[in-house]
């Protein structure tokens, strides 16, 4: 920010103007935080996150965001915009809401712990997946390929009295 790698703003008096040009740039505005006037962002590339999960982000004026194809915008949970919202996106835009609540481990009961059929995270013995990625080594600049096979096996073990199966 203004030549610095990061900045921690406690209070803002006017508008916040953000310009991002590199894909490695990231700005996270985390609540509770108030911007009295406008938030204007122009992202050629990079990521802007307006995060209201831990407190409200209050934008008193307008929210105006323009992104290039490599620009990404995420607005999450409690973000209040007093004025108008304008988003012109060439890249990804995500609006997410809903508070996650963590279950209580101490009161959890594991009477059928090996039947892992959670629809978001099923672990079924015999299932297998292969993830493939390609990229460039940050240090050498050489191309790198990764193969990541994941197989669910039938082995189990007991941990703190709870029987567990494998998964990823």
């Amino acid at each position: 920010m203004n030549g610095a790698k990061s900045a921690d703003l406690k209070q803002l008096m006017g508008s916040l103007i953000i310009r991002m040009q590199s894909g490695e740039d990231k700005v996270a505005i985390q609540g509770g935080f108030s911007i009295p006037h406008d938030l204007r962002a122009n992202l050629t590339a990079g990521e802007l996150v307006i995060e209201g999960s831990n407190g409200q982000v209050n934008i008193g004026g307008n929210l105006s965001v323009r992104t290039g194809r490599q620009g990404h915008l995420t607005i999450r949970n409690e973000v209040r915009i007093g004025g108008e919202t304008s988003v012109v996106a060439g890249g990804d835009v995500n609006y997410l809401s809903g508070h996650a609540t963590l279950p209580d481990f101490a009161s959890a009961r594991f009477n059928n712990s090996l039947n892992i059929n959670n629809p978001y995270f099923p672990i079924v013995p015999g299932a297998g997946y292969v993830y493939h990625t390609e990229g460039v080594d940050d240090e050498t600049g050489e191309p790198v390929t990764q193969e990541n096979p994941v197989d669910v096996l039938s082995a189990t073990r007991t941990d703190s009295g709870r029987e567990g199966a494998g998964g990823r």
Partner: protein, 40 residues
């Protein structure tokens, strides 16, 4: 147990065994992993 391997440019660099269990409410809990790292 799930066997999770990572190959980089064809070389095995990590082999992990992950352990999970599901509680009666359907929450899936992570119970740790056994990892073998291979230097390449």
């Amino acid at each position: 147990m799930v066997d999770d391997r990572v190959y980089e440019n064809g070389n095995l660099i990590e082999d992990t065994h992950d352990w999970y269990a599901q509680d009666d409410n359907g929450n899936v809990w992570y119970f740790g992993e056994d990892v073998t790292d291979n230097d390449i």
